[in-house]
């Protein structure tokens, strides 16, 4: 067995330490070592988006990042989105708009949508389509996913407004 490396990082706001081999991807480490199975493997070569996570707030395919690369970094996975008292507004929008069927692409899709809304609070339908083009879905035909993201954008704007009052 190859010598394993100790990695310390912040995952979903919590400090985490684990041992991994240099050849193990971040996706593998999340799923097989840390028990965070929300991020999924769909292709393992950066073509489907099911493994999407945020690395220091930036959208990445965790299958294309090595576990050792997150040393000292911050990672957000789907498990980090729900609060202790319920789902995030984005997750609720997916539920309300029926933006999923089998749900396998959903964690990656939500993370990718979050990355977009964190940058652009009011994206157009076209912008959403091109941003999420890297997230494949075989079940829904995509339209409800786009509606969910639009609906979440509206809900987030409203909640920001309420907070700032």
């Amino acid at each position: 067995m190859t010598d394993r490396v100790r990695v310390s990082a912040i995952i979903n706001g919590e400090p985490v330490e684990f041992l991994c081999e240099p050849r193990q991807s971040l996706l593998e480490c999340l799923r097989d070592i840390l028990g965070l199975t929300g991020a999924k493997e769909g292709c393992n070569d950066g073509n489907c988006g099911a493994c999407s996570v945020l690395l220091n707030g930036r959208l990445v395919h965790s299958c294309l990042v090595l576990g050792v690369e997150i040393q000292g970094q911050e990672v957000t996975t789907i498990e980090g989105l729900a609060h202790w008292d319920g789902l995030s507004l984005l997750q609720e929008a997916f539920v309300a708009e029926d933006a999923l069927q089998c749900g396998y692409c959903t964690p990656g899709m939500i993370i990718a949508a979050k990355a977009l809304l964190d940058r652009e609070p009011n994206p157009s339908e076209e912008r959403i389509r091109s941003w999420l083009a890297g997230n494949l879905c075989r079940c829904t035909g995509y339209d409800r996913i786009i509606r969910a993201v639009r609906s979440a954008a509206t809900a987030l704007a409203k909640s920001r407004e309420e907070v700032s009052r």
């Binding site: 199975t37 769909g42 789907i78 539920v95 035909g141």
Partner: protein
């Protein structure tokens, strides 16, 4: 896009409170939180990881396999080959909806004397990590004797073609073939006298069509985790459409009684028919037994594309004849379907569907199931029907043009009705074919003019037969008046919700009072696979019966408490009532539930059914496209899909099914197809080169629900999920023709083929 797009073609019983509404999916919160457990997510203590060694050759004899070095590698717990399988009889059994030859199934799981396609499983290793397992695979020495491969379906039928199964003779009702052949079987349907029918025709159109091998494209790969107890009891966690079928597919190769196997189905990340057959379960079970620890085997994306069950590529010859007024007089089809490495393509259902939309007096269909050096085909959403619809619906379009008739009017002139005798000898019973065509013709999309250069509109009409079969449902009443609904039907599309809705409707209780779950093979009666668009219908019948059973039992308990006979008790909208000498008695469902243990044992509604009559369904699609004359790229401008669903239990879920199926159809039409080189090597086993539609390729799809209730289901439900994948390639081909003047008869309709057709390249 309007939400209120239900067209009621016939009036059914109104006044439903749950049926027809759009509650959130019961499984949605789990899924959006990343909390649901899919096949690859299963983790057990001490679990090892299994990987499969696969043939690099498309066709070869296996001379020997030496696993000793792999076995000796540190971190390796077990290595298995076909030698570890039991002697499996050459017998046919029932798996999914069709017959399966168990010997072939075993052979496909682990090759014995020959490998028949690139990617064919040859050996498997269980090790401490997937990486160690992969390293160990490299140490397994297989001595192959390569043989010439054949991957083209027509080539495979020619004399002198390499034979995959030496000694295989063509089976047909006419008797066994004389010479060994790659044609595994020949089916034929004949009605009337086609020669006469064509003689009577005033216009005849004829064409050859080709379609490529395409995959279901589910995002979740196959994954199974096997865990043996010391006394030989196997627990198998697997992503499957049918837990009982998964059990049967492991029992036979491992020579294990069914009582010693418990299959726990996981959440499924997409199936579309492809998860009826097991590809990693046998390896996982063998490895776990040998290793003495749980083993999880997961397929990579390449393995899914190379070695699971795509649907047939095909070559089809089609000829139809008609009078000048559009009445069809004769139709003749010759269908060559790739079975892949082992017999069993869906040519039978393709043959059943090809002319099923129309009343045709004379016709003949010949279907050939042909083995080729490609993975064994598996069911893909309306198996076999999309291929034949591509041929028939584009040829009809050609006919309409020749006759100067509107394409929908031509179809209306010939549309099948209740009682129509089809060329296959079936008779239609209670169908909504004409209603769907009329709703399509009258739809604003069809009536809206389409202007602009390089733009065209196409329509297509199609049928799928659906299915009934066996289902099992239990409805447990809890002490607090809530209920647990458990069925044996794996949920791949949202049936946990649509089934609970049916129970809630019958019980007159809020949906939120019912927890809806899927039981494993120990808990439930034999349930046929979730497929064939059967579940909301057939399992729905079981659920309705179980709900009625609960009401009957509860009435008996109320009767006990009130000292009268059960027939005096009424039940409506959650309240039990009876008129007694002392006055009107009443009790809510919840209150009575609290009295169940005082009046007897637990109350459990139960029903186990075998539904032998089911309603087929029709769909018609309209698509507008724009084709770039320089690049050949097709842009879909507008898409409308009209479909008869019998009765919409959850219109939102139905729309979702239609939209998803259309997206799959768009991929099949324009982008997807397995590419092979001359050595039978698949060239595009990845998601970059096997391109499934992205968000940029699929427009908003308007789903229009028509309801012609199916009389044999309490609410009138017809199967929904498969019909909508059938029309898209034909509709899009017809639109491309109107946009470019080029009629394409081969799928996928790539930019290259479009430009070639236009004479640009």
């Amino acid at each position: 896009m309007s939400r209120k797009n239900t067209v009621r073609a016939t009036q059914g019983a109104e006044g439903y409170t749950v049926v027809g509404t759009r509650p959130p999916r019961v499984d949605a919160p789990d899924k959006v939180a990343g909390h649901a457990i899919y096949g690859p997510d299963v983790a057990l203590p001490r679990m090892a990881y299994g990987k499969i060694l696969r043939s690099p050759h498309a066709h070869a004899r296996i001379r020997s396999i030496d696993t000793r070095q792999a076995e000796a590698m540190p971190g390796v717990y077990a290595v298995v080959t076909a030698k570890d399988l039991s002697e499996v009889a050459d017998r046919i059994g029932r798996v999914g909806e069709s017959s399966v030859n168990f010997k072939f199934l075993c052979d496909n799981n682990l090759a014995s004397d020959k490998v028949l396609y690139m990617g064919h499983a040859v050996a498997a290793v269980a090790a401490s990590s997937p990486h160690v397992a992969e390293d160990a695979l490299k140490l397994i020495k297989v001595d192959y004797e390569p043989l010439p491969p054949v991957t083209d379906v027509l080539e495979a039928t020619r004399e002198g073609a390499p034979l995959l199964h030496e000694g295989m003779l063509t089976k047909s009702l006419g008797g066994l073939g004389e010479r060994p052949s790659n044609i595994a079987s020949h089916i034929q349907h004949l009605k009337g006298d086609p020669a006469q029918g064509f003689a009577e025709a005033e216009v005849i159109v004829e064409r050859e069509f080709r379609t490529a091998t395409v995959h279901q494209g589910y995002l979740e790969p196959h994954a199974a985790t096997a865990d043996w107890s010391p006394d030989g009891f196997l627990t198998l966690y697997t992503t499957t459409q049918g837990s009982f079928d998964a059990r049967a597919q492991v029992a036979e190769p491992l020579d294990c009684p069914l009582s010693k196997i418990r299959v726990i189905p996981t959440e499924v990340g997409g199936a579309f028919g492809g998860k009826n057959i097991s590809y990693v379960d046998v390896a996982a079970a063998l490895l776990a037994r040998k290793a003495g620890r749980p083993v999880k085997v997961t397929m990579s994306r390449a393995e899914v594309l190379l070695a699971s069950g795509p649907t047939s590529g095909s070559v089809m010859h089609l000829k139809i004849g008609a009078k000048r007024d559009g009445r069809l007089t004769a139709a003749k089809a010759e269908l060559f379907y790739e079975a892949g490495a082992y017999p069993g393509s869906p040519v039978g259902s393709g043959a059943y569907c090809i002319f099923a939309c129309y009343e045709i007096p004379h016709g003949q269909i010949d279907g050939y199931d042909v083995v080729v050096n490609k993975p064994k085909t598996g069911p893909l959403r309306a198996p076999g029907a999309t291929q034949t619809a591509f041929a028939m619906e584009t040829l009809l379009d050609e006919l309409a043009e020749k006759l100067g008739m509107d394409p929908i009017e031509l179809r209306l002139r010939n549309v099948a009705h209740e009682g129509t005798l089809l060329i296959t000898g079936n008779r239609h019973y209670s169908i909504g074919a004409e209603e769907v065509l009329r709703a399509t013709y009258n739809h604003p999309h069809y009536q809206a003019p389409l202007g602009g250069p390089h733009r065209g509109r196409g329509v297509a009409f199609a049928y799928w037969g659906n299915w009934g079969a066996r289902s099992s449902a239990i409805l447990n009443v809890n002490d607090d008046g809530t209920l647990a609904l458990v069925t044996g039907s794996v949920d791949i599309t949202g049936t946990r919700t649509s089934l609970a809705m049916q129970a809630a409707e019958v019980l007159g209780l809020p949906l939120t009072r019912i927890r809806s779950a899927v039981g494993d093979t120990d808990a439930m009666g034999h349930s046929d696979t979730t497929g064939g668009s059967r579940t909301t219908m057939a399992t729905g019948i079981a659920v309705v019966e179980a709900a009625n059973d609960v009401i009957a039992q509860m009435k008996g308990r109320a009767a006990q408490l009130w000292g009268l006979s059960a027939e005096k008790v009424t039940y409506k909208r959650g309240v039990f009532r009876a008129s007694t000498p002392g006055g009107m008695q009443e009790m809510s469902f919840a209150e009575l539930a609290g009295q169940v243990s005082a009046t007897g044992g637990p109350v459990r509604g139960k029903s186990d059914v075998n539904i032998r009559k089911w309603g087929g369904a029709f769909g018609a699609h309209i698509v507008d496209v724009e084709v770039d004359p320089e690049t050949g790229k097709v842009r879909i401008l507008r898409y409308t899909a009209v479909q008869d669903v019998g009765r919409a239990i959850h219109p939102g879920q139905i729309e979702g099914q239609i939209q998803g199926a259309v997206a799959q159809g768009i991929g099949w039409a324009l982008y997807e197809g397995y590419a092979y080189d001359a050595q039978g090597q698949m060239l595009n086993a990845n998601f970059l080169d096997y391109k499934i539609p992205t968000m940029l390729d699929v427009p908003p799809i308007e789903a229009v629900i028509v309801e012609v209730p199916w009389p044999e289901h309490p609410f009138g439900v017809r199967g929904v999920g498969e019909v909508p994948i059938v029309p898209p390639p034909a509709a899009i081909a017809n639109a491309i023709y109107r946009a470019t003047g080029t009629r394409l008869a081969e799928l996928p309709m790539t930019p290259e083929r479009i430009l070639q057709g236009m004479g640009v390249i």
